[in-house]
């Protein structure tokens, strides 16, 4: 029972399309009705948004290629300047038209040029009678280009006076795009997240040829049971499914269980998947290491993850500098005298703490401090005398490049540099030991 119906396109194509985009039928039929027939003018710009891996790019791509609609597909992250972006669109447009003639390098610096060149290209491809689609993936990048790029793309149909539709794909809502001078409002469309049922259906679709679909579907069920709480990213789930499937099959391969023995299989795979969640999923150990471990049957405990190596060995004075920086960042200036002078005055017990200081300084984050204060604290916490040599100063700079300290206020580097300590208390504890 085909859900997709459209008079302009052959039914076989539509059926094929429907098989390729499971759980997105309503969105596709909506898009089809907006697109209309090939020669009909469509909406000038369409804005599609939805969470990561909700199938925006995939659906668009499959739709356009299966129905053989003329289009270009450009990722805005990859073509990071407007010039690159515009040129890429033109290159794709040309190369799809003329396979024989090698395309000459296009020069297109401004949108004005683009409109001119675009008209030429469309003319020589004889596309006047069809809607041409320009799909801009990760369209949020457009906001960082010149101010005229986004509004111009939105009304490209009007500017070029050709049958063209621009489709913007993004993960954020349209409200964050709208320039404050106003612009043409695109048709917005939302792709909702896949539900667990959808994920189950999509993931089960690609079962390995050696095993039955039911067997694989049971595996996916278990996998989703473990991972659905932390990860709804389809790509990631597919990756994890592929990584751990070999382990799931093990009892079957060894002949200890048959394919229907779900309970046994579950017992075998569940702890394994839990371990995977703590290691591979977090990229603590890489997937190839994980596969090798599986292959050798070793324990993942042997391999230390990335966060196991937290210890940083530092030179003697660097340690003290870092500790001094930490103290300077988290202690209020007023207490310096009390902590670091031998003969500090009496402390008035009452009203010592002001009200806002009662909240823990660790919750407020590090505060900036001047260089002089850092050095003063350093001199008081190091036992023997420290000469203010060039080496000490260069260590401060190298701590900054190692991102253990950070410099605040770039403009005042010579006169009175101010720093912040960016490391955590645990790190300082480890160093101070």
């Amino acid at each position: 029972m085909p859900n997709l119906e459209h008079p302009a396109y052959p039914a076989t194509d539509l059926l094929h399309l429907e098989n390729l985009v499971p759980c997105r039928e309503s969105q596709v039929s909506m898009l089809l009705s907006i697109f209309g027939e090939r020669q009909q003018f469509s909406f000038p710009s369409i804005f599609i948004y939805g969470h990561t891996s909700s199938g925006k790019t995939y659906v668009m791509k499959t739709l356009l290629t299966t129905l053989q609609l003329p289009h270009v597909f450009v990722n805005c992250v990859e073509y990071f300047t407007s010039r690159l972006l515009l040129e890429e669109i033109l290159i794709q447009l040309q190369s799809s038209s003329s396979d024989t003639e090698q395309t000459c390098p296009v020069h297109c610096d401004t949108l004005n040029d683009f409109v001119r060149l675009f008209k030429q290209a469309v003319a020589c491809r004889e596309l006047q009678d069809q809607t041409f689609y320009i799909v801009l993936d990760r369209a949020e990048q457009l906001r960082e280009m010149e101010a005229n790029i986004l509004p111009a793309f939105l009304r490209l149909q009007e500017l070029t006076d050709r049958n063209v539709t621009v489709v913007l794909l993004s993960e954020i809502v349209w409200e964050l795009f709208r320039p404050n001078v106003g612009c043409f409002e695109p048709f917005t469309m939302y792709f909702p997240d896949y539900s667990i049922g959808h994920l189950q259906k999509i993931l089960s679709q690609n079962h390995p040829p050696e095993y039955s679909a039911d067997f694989y579907s049971a595996y996916i069920n278990i996998l989703l049971g473990v991972f659905y709480m932390v990860c709804r990213d389809l790509k990631e789930l597919q990756h994890l499914a592929a990584l751990n499937f070999a382990k799931y099959c093990e009892p079957v391969v060894r002949g200890e269980a048959n394919e229907r023995d779900t309970r046994k299989l579950w017992k075998n795979i569940e702890p394994h998947l839990k371990k995977a969640m703590q290691t591979v999923y977090l990229r603590e150990i890489s997937s190839s290491q994980w596969e090798r471990l599986q292959h050798d049957g070793g324990e993942p405990g042997q391999l230390k993850g990335l966060s196991a190596h937290t210890h940083v060995e530092l030179p003697y004075y660097s340690k003290f500098l870092l500790i001094a920086a930490y103290l300077a960042s988290y202690n209020p200036v007023r207490t310096d005298k009390r902590f670091f002078l031998k003969h500090h005055g009496k402390i008035r017990k009452t009203n010592f703490m002001k009200k806002h200081e009662k909240t823990s300084n660790h919750l407020l984050g590090p505060k900036p401090f001047p260089l002089d204060r850092l050095l003063a604290i350093l001199y008081s916490i190091v036992d023997n005398r420290v000469a203010p040599t060039a080496n000490i100063f260069s260590q401060i700079t190298s701590l900054v490049t190692l991102q253990l300290l950070s410099m605040v206020g770039q403009n005042d580097q010579l006169d009175g540099p101010r720093y912040k300590c960016t490391v955590s208390l645990d790190f300082i504890r480890a160093i101070a030991r």
Partner: protein, 706 residues
């Protein structure tokens, strides 16, 4: 002059010129030419030695990396059809290379790495530094520039015109990089299959493209993220491998990259050896060997090690410091001409000029030696040059033998000290070495406690140590150790015999114990008391006796061979001891130097008139000094008018003490101008800055500024 480095430490461009520099410092009679040549050849030897050491140390790491790289893409190439591979998301293989905080050493490692990769894996390597890549655009530009240039290097003649085109206008995008890659790999495949197969069969058909991020920490998050996202989309067309050079800890990856990006990577961790181990190896191979005639004195070595441990952890800087010592030694010590291999010593001694002989006579250690001789010999040594030369050769040979013995015995002693609890003489051999050089080690308290601890060692440890010592002495080049080896072996056999004897005794002890069990409490107490009595008075067991003997023997070896070098005659020739010079060069104190220059200009200008007494301000000093001294007396904010008045008072004080009437209400224009200039000079030096808090005030930036 705080940042003065000797020009001679820098790379010598023309040897003639520097040789001339050497000469200009001293007379020509002092063999400057020869000294310079010796110095250079010695340094070249040491340099090649250190390079060798570094190569060996990095070998393990590089091998691991190479196998990782060759694995990374071959997997994908082999089984692209398999189901798992189709389903799996294709990650970018990434090596996280943890190199430690000694950033200055990283360059060398990366250079070695790229050489090895070039030889074994791929010609396509790009090294990126954070400072070149503030944005993704710059990163792509840099990346493509490097990759396409390395293409030129590989087959330089064939496609010059192609390079010309690409250099004219490169579209800095991934797609042009991919098309470049396709063209390059296709060319090597199709055009010259036979030639390529033979010459570079080590590369495969499509070698990976390696991108090395030298300093991961300094890259901005956005650049890295964008680059990874872009390249992960093209991983099928461009086999990319990333290498992250990490100075701190691999956690930085998670801090810089969000999960959505780090999930695109397949990260494996590699760790280089710690810089401390590296230093130990360097010291072991360069200093604790008789291979090189040049030696470092205790204080100098301490300065170098302290800079390493306290400040930078940089082995490169340590070697640079060592080089500076060599240059300084050969430059400042005329007799360093004799600091050469033993085979050349004789010839060089006999060709010494009379002045040089006088130089020898002036050496303190030689004078001490002369005083100990009988009067006839004393006269001969002091007057007869040829006799002196003969004696010098003999002494230098002695010195050489002393070094050989010293090193072996030091290692033996280290075997003992390094396994004792609390390491009384230091854990590392370098600490022991410093202790022995400093003064007579057997006179120190630490040595005393070492002996006590050594007398409490158990047998297995002691035997193991003795065996190690025997091995060390056997392998050493010194000739005097035959007897010691004999002696040590004898100890070992005695221990062996003891073992057999003790087994018998064990039986008797156990029977005694059984006896005790049967007795009641009273008897037990009595027997215990008796036992205690007997133990106190009892003679030492055989094992204990032997242990004492061993320790005493080791002690005697130490006393004989580990004499500090300062006690040896002619040690000045091979030992470099000018620690203060070195410290001045390597551990400069700019603030202190600046303060001295401004506060006490006499120190640098050497003008007697400037010599001032106590805290007074002389008006003959340069203006900036006067202004500086006056500003020291002020608080955080300085009133310019007051400052000017004080300045003019000081300047006028001596010039015209009686013309005060004119100066009191109006300041002379020239003085005003001088003041303004001095103040702006101070501002340039960073002592003050204009303040917005109060008009006509400037803020102090140093010392008490806060």
């Amino acid at each position: 002059g705080c940042f003065v480095f000797k020009p001679s430490t820098k790379k010598r461009r023309s040897s003639e010129k520097t040789a001339h520099d050497f000469r200009s410092g001293s007379d020509d009679s002092e063999d400057t030419e020869l000294r310079f040549v010796t110095c250079q050849s010695l340094w070249n030897q040491i340099k090649s030695e250190t390079e060798q050491i570094q190569e060996d140390l990095n070998k393990q790491l590089l091998d691991n990396l190479v196998s990782f790289l060759s694995r990374s893409h071959s997997e994908f190439q082999e089984k692209t059809t398999e189901w798992t591979c189709r389903m799996k998301f294709r990650e970018i293989p990434t090596a996280a290379l943890v190199l430690g905080v000694n950033v200055t050493d990283h360059d060398l490692t990366f250079r070695g790495l790229s050489d090895v990769l070039q030889d074994n894996i791929t010609p396509y390597i790009a090294l990126l530094e954070a400072k070149d890549c503030p944005g993704i655009k710059n990163l792509m530009q840099k990346l493509m520039g490097q990759l396409m240039n390395c293409d030129v290097d590989v087959d330089s003649l064939e496609d010059e015109d192609c390079v010309q085109v690409s250099q004219n206008r490169i579209r800095c995008s991934m797609s042009s990089l991919i098309s470049w890659y396709e063209s390059v790999t296709k060319k090597t495949d199709s055009e010259t299959p036979s030639k390529k197969r033979n010459s570079s069969s080590r590369h495969w058909q499509s070698p990976p493209v390696v991108v090395i991020f030298k300093d991961m920490e300094s890259f901005t998050t956005k650049v890295l993220q964008d680059f990874i996202v872009i390249s992960s989309q093209h991983i099928h067309e461009l086999p990319l491998v990333l290498i992250f050079g990490i100075a701190t800890s691999p956690m930085i990856i998670h801090r810089l990259l969000p999960h959505s990006v780090s999930s695109l990577l397949c990260i494996e961790l590699f760790q280089s050896i710690s810089c401390k181990e590296h230093l130990s190896t360097i010291i072991d191979k360069l200093l604790l060997t008789s291979q090189f005639p040049f030696k470092l004195g205790e204080k100098v070595l301490q300065v170098l090690i302290n800079i390493f441990l306290y400040h930078d952890f940089s082995v490169q800087n340590f070697i640079k410091g060592f080089q500076l010592c060599i240059v300084e030694h050969f430059y400042s010590q005329p007799l360093s001409v004799l600091c050469c291999q033993l085979v050349d010593v004789k010839k060089r001694v006999y060709s010494l000029s009379h002045d040089q002989c006088e130089n020898i006579r002036r050496l303190p250690s030689f004078r001490r030696y002369v005083e100990k001789q009988e009067s006839g010999k004393q006269v001969a040594l002091l007057t007869n040059d040829s006799f002196l030369k003969e004696e010098t050769v003999k002494l230098l040979e002695d010195l050489h033998v002393y070094h050989e013995n010293y090193v072996s015995i030091l290692r033996c002693l280290h075997v003992f000290t390094s396994s004792l609890p609390k390491y009384p003489l230091g854990k590392q051999i370098r600490e022991l070495h410093c202790a022995c050089l400093e003064n007579r080690v057997w006179e120190t308290e630490e040595y005393e406690s070492f002996l006590q601890l050594a007398r409490m060692l158990n047998k297995t440890d002691l035997v193991a140590m003795l065996q190690q010592c025997v091995e060390i002495l056997m392998s050493s080049s010194g000739k005097e150790f035959d007897k010691s080896v004999e002696k040590l072996k004898e100890f070992l056999t005695q221990f062996q015999n003891l073992e057999e004897a003790s087994q018998e005794r064990d039986v008797s002890v156990s029977s005694q114990k059984e006896l005790q069990k049967k007795t009641d409490l009273y008897h037990l107490q009595k027997t215990l008391l008796e036992l205690k009595e007997s133990r106190r008075s009892k003679k030492l067991t055989k094992f204990e006796m032997l242990r004492f003997e061993v320790v005493d023997y080791i002690d005697s070896l130490v006393r004989k061979y580990l004499v500090p070098a300062d006690d040896r005659t002619l040690h000045e020739i091979v030992y470099f001891n000018a620690a203060t010079v070195l410290r001045g060069h390597l551990n400069a104190a700019p603030r202190t130097a600046l303060h001295t220059a401004l506060n006490n200009p006499h120190w640098y200008l050497k003008n007697q008139a400037l010599k001032c007494d106590g805290g007074g301000i002389s008006n003959k000093a340069p203006d900036i000094c006067i202004v500086y001294k006056l500003h020291l007396e002020c608080g955080r904010l300085i009133n310019l008018v007051d400052w000017l008045e004080a300045f003019s008072t000081v300047v006028m004080a001596a010039e015209e003490p009686n013309a005060d009437a004119a100066s009191s209400d109006q300041v002379d224009d020239t003085i005003h101008a001088r003041f303004i200039r001095a103040v702006s000079e101070l501002e340039l030096l960073g002592f003050i800055k204009p303040s917005k808090q109060k008009t006509d005030h400037v803020a102090r930036l140093t010392w008490g500024g806060c």
